[in-house]
């Protein structure tokens, strides 16, 4: 699948990207079909997509996934109640994970501050390994809960959800491209899973899939490991935390939109811990103006800005 990741669109570049794909307007060489869009991350503002529509030349069709989710809440109360229970379980899991993570990361940072050489280095490595283990176990647990939920609720057998899934698949089947905007990454991941967007994107003929253009939370929701981060909260630097899996269209990437604004990039020991936690996955910065076209194996092109294991930000080729 052809995937293009963009930085935040405060100064939009999506229009240029769409043009570069030959999708703008009905000019010669332009692919047929409309551009499907997902703005569910905007939640209640999902339908306020006039500006995006303008950038796409007015040939867009919003999949309305948030509206479909609200409709499901209203018309399938059994599913809605079960989903609320699952969200409650997720919240509890996240709470417990964060409690453990707090202690585990404090140990790492305390060791970093301690003087010493070999023993200290080994101890830091062991402490980071413990954090990685915690991250991995949490991701597995969250995915298990979601898997059990879908196995039990069987959304494909529920008329309301099945109807929406069919509608989404129909639009995506005709679409020349899919554009996924940012917003609330949790909401995005939930509706992408619920309406089975990954399956709807796959086409029988290899190479026939519509290209996907995504930014910020939209990009994060394509990965197999969504990591939440924010060092500038009211309480000060928080711990980066594994949230769950997105569509897993992209593997081995941890995407960091607004990294400069949201992370203490100058704090290299802290950034080193971040990168080491998620290695060998690539921690990729998505700043304004970024455009990254991935290959079929989710590999980034040269020039991609990444976080290295020693906590520096550098170009991908320099990090190797």
């Amino acid at each position: 699948m052809r995937v293009i990741l963009l930085g935040p669109q405060r100064r939009p570049t999506v229009d240029a990207v769409i043009r570069s794909l030959g999708l703008a307007g009905a000019g010669p060489g332009g692919l047929p079909g409309s551009v499907a869009t997902i703005t569910a991350g905007w939640q209640e503002r999902e339908a306020d997509d006039g500006e995006l529509s303008g950038l796409l030349g007015g040939r867009d069709t919003n999949l309305g996934l948030y509206r479909r989710w609200l409709d499901t809440q209203d018309r399938d109360p059994g599913y809605a109640a079960a989903e609320r229970r699952m969200q409650g379980e997720f919240a509890e899991l996240q709470d417990i994970y964060l409690l453990r993570l707090d202690h585990a990361l404090r140990a790492v940072y305390a060791l970093q501050r301690r003087s010493g050489d070999q023993l200290r280095t080994e101890a830091i490595a062991a402490a980071v390994a413990a954090v990685r283990e915690l991250d991995t176990a949490h991701l597995r647990r969250v995915n298990d809960v979601r898997g059990e939920f879908f196995a039990e609720l069987r959304p494909h057998d529920r008329p309301v959800i099945a109807g929406h899934r069919a509608a989404v698949a129909g639009i995506l089947g005709e679409a020349a491209a899919l554009v996924i905007a940012g917003g609330h990454v949790g909401v995005l991941a939930d509706v992408l899973h619920l309406f089975n967007v990954a399956a709807a994107l796959s086409r029988p003929a290899p190479g026939a899939e519509a290209p996907v253009v995504a930014w910020s939370a939209g990009a994060m929701a394509l990965t197999d490991r969504i990591v939440l981060f924010g060092d500038l909260s009211p309480q000060g630097p928080g711990h980066a935390e594994v949230y769950g899996s997105g569509l897993s269209v992209l593997r081995g990437l941890v995407l960091l939109p607004h990294a400069r604004a949201r992370m203490l990039l100058d704090d290299t020991p802290r950034m080193a811990v971040f990168a080491q936690r998620f290695g060998p996955g690539r921690c990729v910065l998505l700043e304004g103006g970024t455009r990254i076209e991935l290959d079929r194996d989710s590999r980034c092109p040269p020039g991609t800005r990444v976080l290295t294991g020693d906590g520096r930000v550098t170009a991908l080729e320099a990090a190797a």
Binding site: P8, G183, V185, G230, S233
Partner: protein
């Protein structure tokens, strides 16, 4: 414990906080200048204070005082030093405040040849101090707000003047934001068998309230005062809008006999936990789990919050305690608080003797200028020892509603974090 011993337990004066300018007070004032030697030395290094430049004028005429006042906002804040002024005929003028560590009556000096009175206080950056003036004339004493300072702070006890030291700014999230969607307030009455009265409650429902969602619940003691004096609705609207805190339903409760109900009353705890909470959870789409329930209060209200959670330890996940009146004795019975504190002291002493977790998370805040700072600092290790997650915040402020307002962002965003970490636009 004697009063002297109690006084000796007070916090030391924070470094850099001092007053200058009183005529006879020890440790600071001089008769000549209204500034201490230390302050003068510093003044030599910095520019001279405005009041000292005026004092040096020869001859000093009343019209100069007029022009001086027209040129300056009062109190005059110059670096860490704040000059408080009064204009008028009087026998004596005092600055009345409640800054722990300073005499609560600080005399102002009269500037020779004028009816302008002044005192200079050194206030560390970020300080916010509420005060009044006491003016003595012909044997009469009158306590007034500073007529030269339009800034007022309000509380159930009335109003007082307020000084913003260097570095203090009113947080923008405490002011109405036209961008923020407004939640709604709904009044209700809950008949209480426990309290034997009808209990008014004001519910805050966040903007875009949906029946299909699940909201955490915040129960706020002294709810009317939080709404009126701590801008609680505006704060909730803004913090939710800015994604700093989760969309939350708040129940603002009102005390009857406050000093009884909030002083470790079993009836009050029963009202909240067995009457109000089940009713709200039946009527509203609330999370209904400990992690989705919080109790909040200030002063005696903080005691009520702690005592309620103590009596029902598995019900509330979070506590937000501001300037709690956690008065206790380590030995003896003299706590200095008077009869209303007796049940509080018994409760806090019992808790300190055998601390136990009463919630998962406790946010504690206190002003360093209030006498309760020592009590609150003393409670932090006690809370921590139980294994509860504790966040403790101090501010250069006093026992005031604005202090409590200004700490709400840190507290509320900690107990019910907003979705900020989920949003990447």
């Amino acid at each position: 414990m004697t009063a002297r011993e109690a006084a000796s337990q007070r916090a030391p004066v924070p470094t850099g906080l001092r007053s200058d300018g009183g005529a006879t007070r020890e440790g600071g004032a001089t008769r000549e200048g209204g500034t201490s030697q230390g302050a003068r030395r510093r003044a030599g290094q910095q520019s001279k204070l405005a009041i000292n430049r005026l004092r040096d004028r020869r001859p000093l005429e009343p019209a100069m005082a007029d022009r001086f006042l027209a040129r300056h906002e009062v109190p005059i804040v110059e670096g860490d030093r704040c000059t408080f002024l009064y204009r008028g005929e009087a026998d004596e003028v005092f600055l009345i405040h409640r800054i722990l560590g300073l005499p609560d009556h600080l005399p102002l000096r009269r500037l020779r040849g004028t009816d302008l009175w002044y005192v200079v206080l050194e206030l560390p950056a970020g300080s916010r101090v509420e005060y009044q003036l006491e003016v003595a004339r012909s044997g009469e004493r009158e306590r007034i707000n500073d007529p030269l300072n339009p800034r007022l702070a309000h509380s159930p006890m009335g109003s007082s003047s307020v000084c913003y030291a260097r570095g203090y700014a009113v947080p923008d999230w405490t002011q109405p934001d036209p961008e923020a969607r407004a939640g709604s307030l709904v009044d209700m009455v809950v008949p209480s068998r426990a309290l034997r009265r009808d209990c008014p409650v004001t519910l805050y429902l966040p903007a875009r309230f949906r029946r299909t969602a699940r909201y955490p619940l915040l129960i706020v003691h002294d709810g009317g005062d939080y709404l009126r004096y701590a801008a609680a609705k505006t704060v909730l609207d803004n913090l939710i809008h800015r994604l700093d805190m989760a969309e939350t339903v708040a129940a603002f409760v009102y005390p009857g006999d406050r000093l009884t109900e909030y002083a470790n009353s079993a009836a009050h705890a029963r009202y909240l936990t067995a009457e109000l909470l089940p009713r709200l959870e039946a009527q509203l789409p609330l999370a209904g789990t400990p992690s989705g329930r919080a109790l909040m209060g200030s002063s005696f209200g903080a005691v009520a919050a702690l005592a309620t959670a103590y009596r029902h330890p598995d019900v509330y996940g979070s506590l937000l305690l501001q300037s709690g009146s956690f008065v206790f004795t380590d030995i003896g019975h003299d706590h200095g608080g008077g009869p209303p504190f007796e049940p509080v002291v018994r409760f806090v002493n019992r808790y300190r003797a055998a601390p136990r977790p009463v919630a998962d998370r406790v946010f504690v805040s206190c002003g360093v200028y209030e006498p309760l700072i020592v009590r609150n600092r003393s409670m932090v290790p006690v809370f921590e020892a139980t294994g509860m997650a504790v966040r403790y915040v101090e501010a250069r402020d006093g026992h005031s509603w604005v202090n409590w307002r200004d700490r709400l962002r840190e507290g509320l965003s900690w107990i019910f974090p907003g979705p900020q970490k989920y949003v990447y636009e």
